[in-house]
Assembly symmetry: C2
Homo-oligomer: 410 residues x 2
């Protein structure tokens, strides 16, 4: 199958491109290296030493004999994006090419506006390009479980049947996103549903949970193929951050009570979900929604699991509760459905001790690259302007010495 | 009260600014004259000869002794917008400064992207400016009833209590907007709810129905104050267009079956609703939603009412059904709640024979300005690219001669 991966140099995109290539699909990557640029802007680095894309692609070709086509450019540039569709004629486009960090979108007005314009315009461009040039192409778009927020009812997959005053209808599930980034994904979802309706496009909106892990079968084949492992307060995901903190004996920093419960999945399942969506496309005119995660955990659950995994290799770490920089419920009901991908054949990798051990091993292996000044949150949701230029050490000291800071030691 | 009217040179904005000024409020207008520019782009003119804003404001001052402050600039330019908030210190900002025509947003990709970026960025800028400079200021934002689409259940005012699997929650009403423009308003609504939640802002989202009429007590005082009366296929609203068609004996052009049912209101109620919202502001942190319309009609209902009003002044007109350029249900359930503004004191002007007579009189009075080539739809929802540069006469002939065209004559 001909599959174009937009954002194929990023964390999920790279793993997906290699997996699909290994499976025998004809793959192209479209990327403008914005993700690498944001690292420079923020003064952060992935834990793992990722290679330039040109090096990665050459290594992949040498190992497997498979080539991945590369188009370098910005999806918000319609002429560029359209040229990639014309040149590659994809049967499916997997769209990861968005700014995907909630804290980045909350830095200040410019970052909020950038995130929404970048994400919304990129997706609008893609909808128009598919309609104009490749109308049977299946759009597989990465959304987020964060679109739903934390309602006090079960979360369905995209749509819910509502009975009201004696009538009923199947309607889009109400959205309560928690950052300007999450809002951009809600905007995309509405735009996609409409485009499918008026133009008969086929689309799958994957509301993905929080992804953890860095190793997939493909990237393990050579150090040059290694994937990102982000642990900083802006782009890092929570489980990665806890592992890195544990590796250097730093307290695990839980935001608030830690009762925030979310859907999580292993990156090895991300790539499989994408292939399942490609192989079993939406029907023309259909905008289907899958909740793409495998297990629910609270943030405190994860901290305790990492604490236990660390102890096994002789690392004793505390769990610290620090003031929540976000505006979110710290305890809440959460029950999100996620059966559609399983029905289509997904066999989940659950978060096991052995996976946690492997994550800890990576964190320890690269521990000389860990910058502990990147752990603590410097982007506060309640502030419209977060100055990330002030010296980090000060912030860390101030935050850790606040009275609200609690400590839990087993 | 100090009230800033963004988009105060437009149709609703101008009527609102004068009404609030007449009521004794201290009013400023912020406008970049984009609406006048779009007339030039499309080659259309309002039926009524509107004067430049400088002339309008001078006439108002001479008639009443009241001044309205003017800030000329674009709300997507944050520095400009912030400077108006700083200079005027509004207690309420009424935000009409958006691209508000569904067909305009459906012309092609550039118009879709422009509409969403313009509207979303303007509103984001306003939320940040209020948060940073005037956090107690009440934001009154014009949304649209079109955000809801036409669900098969009663439409509530912004939020709905959903019972599901034995639990319940009050959640945002699901949205099914029908154009890239309507989508932009849905995006705005989500952004506003979030900003109120994280920053404690106070906001009222007015989901307005289709506005008709041109005369308010204020604009009637002098010809120089006259308001817009748009009847073209892009910016014209349906009742205005029917009146203009009747005035020159042109068949009333109903899209499809004409069973499309919507909420409508008199522009004299628009201005009163805005003042009610100003005087009874939302609480800090509250993003309340009012459905701002007074009556429901189907498009065919309106055509028949105009046909009858025309007959009274000796004008016999047919009703033609032409293919619907939009993708929408031509018959559907529709029952939208609209009691919150009435509860706060709104006394509606219902659509009466006398109002219709007055609209017909305006259409007849200015009939030498009517361009009948502007009546027929040239923007098709199903096409991603509508070339509005082709000669109009051709389009008109082709469309009217299609076999699907039906005629109803009483």
């Amino acid at each position: 199958m001909r599959i174009s991966v937009l954002g194929g140099d990023g964390y999920c995109g790279w793993a997906t491109a290699l997996y699909l290539s290994a499976k025998g699909h004809s793959v192209s990557i479209v990327d403008n290296f914005a993700r690498r640029q944001w690292d420079h802007e923020l003064g952060v680095q992935t834990l793992t030493p990722v290679q330039p894309l040109s090096v990665r692609l050459k290594a992949w070709q040498e190992l497997t004999g498979k080539t991945i086509d590369l188009f370098v450019g910005d999806v918000t540039d319609y002429d560029f994006l359209a040229s990639t569709i014309q040149a590659f004629s994809p049967e499916a486009v997997v769209h990861f090419a968005e700014q995907r960090a909630a804290p980045y979108s909350m830095i200040d007005r410019k970052h909020a506006v950038f995130t929404q314009v970048n994400n919304v315009v990129g997706t609008l461009n893609l909808l128009f390009a598919i309609r104009e040039l490749q109308p049977d192409c299946h759009l597989i778009k990465l959304g987020t479980m964060g679109e739903y927020g934390t309602p006090n009812i079960d979360i369905e997959e995209g749509y819910i049947t509502i009975e009201h005053n004696g009538r009923k209808d199947l309607l889009p599930f109400p959205k309560q996103p928690g950052s300007f980034y999450h809002l951009s994904k809600v905007h995309d979802s509405h735009n996609m549903m409409f485009a499918c309706k008026i133009w008969g496009l086929r689309a799958t909106d994957l509301n993905q949970g929080v992804v953890y892990g860095t190793l997939t079968e493909e990237v393990e084949r050579d150090e040059a193929l290694i994937n990102r492992f982000d642990y900083d307060e802006v782009f890092g995901t929570v489980l990665n951050r806890f592992c890195v903190q544990a590796a250097i004996g730093h307290p695990l920093t839980v935001y608030g009570e830690g009762g925030q419960t979310r859907g999580f999945l292993d990156i090895r399942d991300t790539v499989r979900c994408i292939e399942i969506a490609c192989l079993k496309p939406a029907a023309p005119g259909e905008c289907r929604v899958f909740n793409q995660f495998t297990e629910q955990f609270s943030v405190l659950d994860l901290a305790q699991m990492v604490q236990a995994a660390a102890r096994k290799i002789g690392l004793m770490v505390d769990i610290h509760h620090i003031p929540d920089p976000r505006v979110e419920a710290e305890r809440h009901y959460y029950n999100a459905k996620h059966s559609k991908l399983v029905d289509l054949g997904l066999q989940p990798h659950n978060l096991s001790d052995s996976l946690l051990d492997s994550l800890m091993n990576i964190a320890v292996k690269y521990s000389d690259r860990i910058d502990s000044s990147l752990f603590l949150p410097r982007v506060q949701w309640r502030s419209p302007r977060n100055d990330r230029q002030q010296p980090r050490a000060e912030v860390a000291t101030v935050t850790l010495s606040e009275d609200t800071l609690l400590s839990e030691r087993e």
